[in-house]
């Protein structure tokens, strides 16, 4: 925020960074090797729904676009905070396909003028860690272009230790969010 913005009291809506999402497939390989967590084939886009028919039309367009692939199951659900989760459950566990589907959804929303309303994307991972079933989501923050892991334990508890292990396993492939206070919990997100 420059001085002029402070004087005039304005803040431009932050545009979304759509391209850094493509670093996730490479990171997923490293993650699987280090922790045994494999992609579940589920990806979801979280967007703040706008008022009116324009947004509903964009939402319909995204659903139709994702359904072009017969193996993909598409859901549009609202969470407790009023945000819309567009979930794509692809038939396979190849991360590249999931990321491509997410990117298609993102660009459709952006072209409709809702790029600044994109909150985050989530890619699901699951596997056995330390003898128990764990579910981890890699949350990609559009406005920062960074990723962080989220491992819910059920009942609004987080497995912070596992999250930090995943962070170490992600290594250099993807930009991990350095500020831990920005690792906000996405309780009830689809795919976890």
């Amino acid at each position: 925020m420059g001085l002029l913005d402070v004087l005039l009291g304005r803040q431009k809506p932050v545009p979304a960074n759509l391209d850094a999402l493509f670093a996730l497939p490479a990171a997923g390989v490293g993650l699987q090797a280090a922790t045994g967590l494999a992609p579940t084939g589920v990806g979801a886009v979280c967007i703040k729904p706008g008022e009116g028919a324009v947004f509903t039309a964009a939402q319909t367009e995204v659903t139709a676009l994702l359904r072009l692939d017969e193996d993909t199951v598409v859901d549009q659900t609202r969470d407790a905070f009023g945000y819309l989760w567009t979930t794509a459950r692809t038939g396979d566990d190849r991360l590249a396909d999931v990321v491509t589907a997410l990117h298609a959804a993102n660009t459709t929303y952006e072209r409709a003028g809702f790029g600044t309303s994109l909150l985050c994307s989530l890619v699901g991972f699951a596997g056995e860690v330390d003898g128990r079933q764990a579910s981890v989501g890699l949350v990609y923050l559009y406005k920062r272009g960074t990723t962080y892991p989220f491992a819910p334990l059920g009942g609004e508890k987080r497995d912070t230790a596992l999250e930090l292990r995943v962070r170490a396993a992600l290594g250099e492939d993807v930009r991990v969010e350095p500020d831990l206070s920005r690792w906000f919990p996405v309780w009830g997100a689809p795919g976890l």
């Binding site: 803040q11 706008g50 905070f81 945000y83 309303s117 920005r182 906000f184």
Partner: protein, 304 residues
């Protein structure tokens, strides 16, 4: 539809804001000129005024929280509130402020703190009780916009001028009582001294009064800007409008005693607290009238 944004820039608001800031800067220059022309030690005035200004700037968050009897809440204590703020901060890419709750039944919210890194957003239990989730989100987006615009710092700097002008007036009166105005000590000089002093005092008083009105006008424009940024952030101008209507309407039903207690802090609030029967001239208002705020939000809803 523009690729850059769905809402057009509001040039009228920008122009008015710029004009007010310019006029305030001009008054500052006039004030300093008076100071130096009068011969009062500039260093003394600057040190005293600077002391007041520094206190206000650095302590604003603690003072406001203490005055409203608010306490900071952890995410475990208020998960829904923290969740809404988390997401709004992720959407706007701003640092997350500390969150506080004030146990007051008057529905209201305020933000304080000198920078986005040192900010606190506070809501009252009265607000949490009365608003729907999307309306609460609109109010929180409005407060986060104040934080992002650094409104506390801007209003503190702007009000510095008022303090300075007031100090000039006080020093002028002080020096008058003890005599010895200006550098000349000749008899012919003394005869002309009194009208000069009166003129200086009068001008300083006018400077203070005009700065006061300008600061109030600036406060109103900052409120409209915060409304606008909040609507851009949430994409739901109508929810914010609904929250405004509810809060202002509900406040007229709150017992008068609570409102009178809240009145001194009006400049901080989402909506000003007025006891019924207390009419305020629009020039002195810290917030724009409800109709003006609703009209701006309605035009945004239509455009989007």
């Amino acid at each position: 539809m523009s690729r850059r944004g769905r809402y057009a820039a509001d040039r009228g608001l920008t122009t008015r804001m710029l004009l007010v800031v310019f006029l305030l800067g001009l008054l500052y220059v006039v004030g300093m000129g008076l100071l130096i022309g009068y011969g009062v030690s500039p260093l003394l005035v600057i040190v005293v005024a600077g002391g007041f200004f520094a206190f206000q700037y650095f302590a604003s968050d603690r003072v406001a929280l203490y005055a409203m009897n608010a306490r900071l809440v952890e995410p475990a204590e208020a998960p829904e509130l923290h969740g809404v703020i988390d997401r709004l901060c992720a959407l706007s890419d701003t640092p997350k402020p500390r969150v506080a709750v004030a146990d007051v039944d008057v529905p209201n919210a305020f933000a304080t703190g000198r920078s986005p890194q040192r900010a606190v957003v506070c809501v009252t239990t009265g607000l949490l009780r009365r608003l729907e989730p999307d309306e609460l989100e609109g109010v929180l987006a409005h407060e986060l916009s104040h934080v992002a615009h650094r409104d506390v710092a801007v209003m503190t700097v702007a009000s510095f001028l008022g303090v300075l002008a007031g100090l000039i007036t006080r020093f002028a009166l002080h020096a008058t009582m003890f005599g010895g105005v200006g550098r000349g000590r000749s008899d012919s000089g003394k005869g002309n001294a009194l009208p000069v002093i009166v003129a200086v005092v009068l001008v300083s008083a006018i400077v203070y009064a005009v700065s006061f009105l300008l600061i109030r006008a600036l406060s109103r424009y900052r409120e409209l800007s915060a409304d606008r940024t909040a609507a851009l952030l949430t994409g739901r101008p109508s929810s914010l409008a609904a929250a405004l209507t509810k809060v202002t309407g509900q406040m007229s039903q709150v017992p008068t005693r609570d409102l009178r207690a809240a009145e001194p802090f009006n400049a901080f609030f989402f909506s000003p607290a007025h006891a019924t029967g207390f009419s305020l001239s629009s020039l002195f208002a810290t917030h724009p009238p409800l109709e003006q705020r609703l009209a701006q939000l309605a035009s945004m809803a239509q455009a989007g």
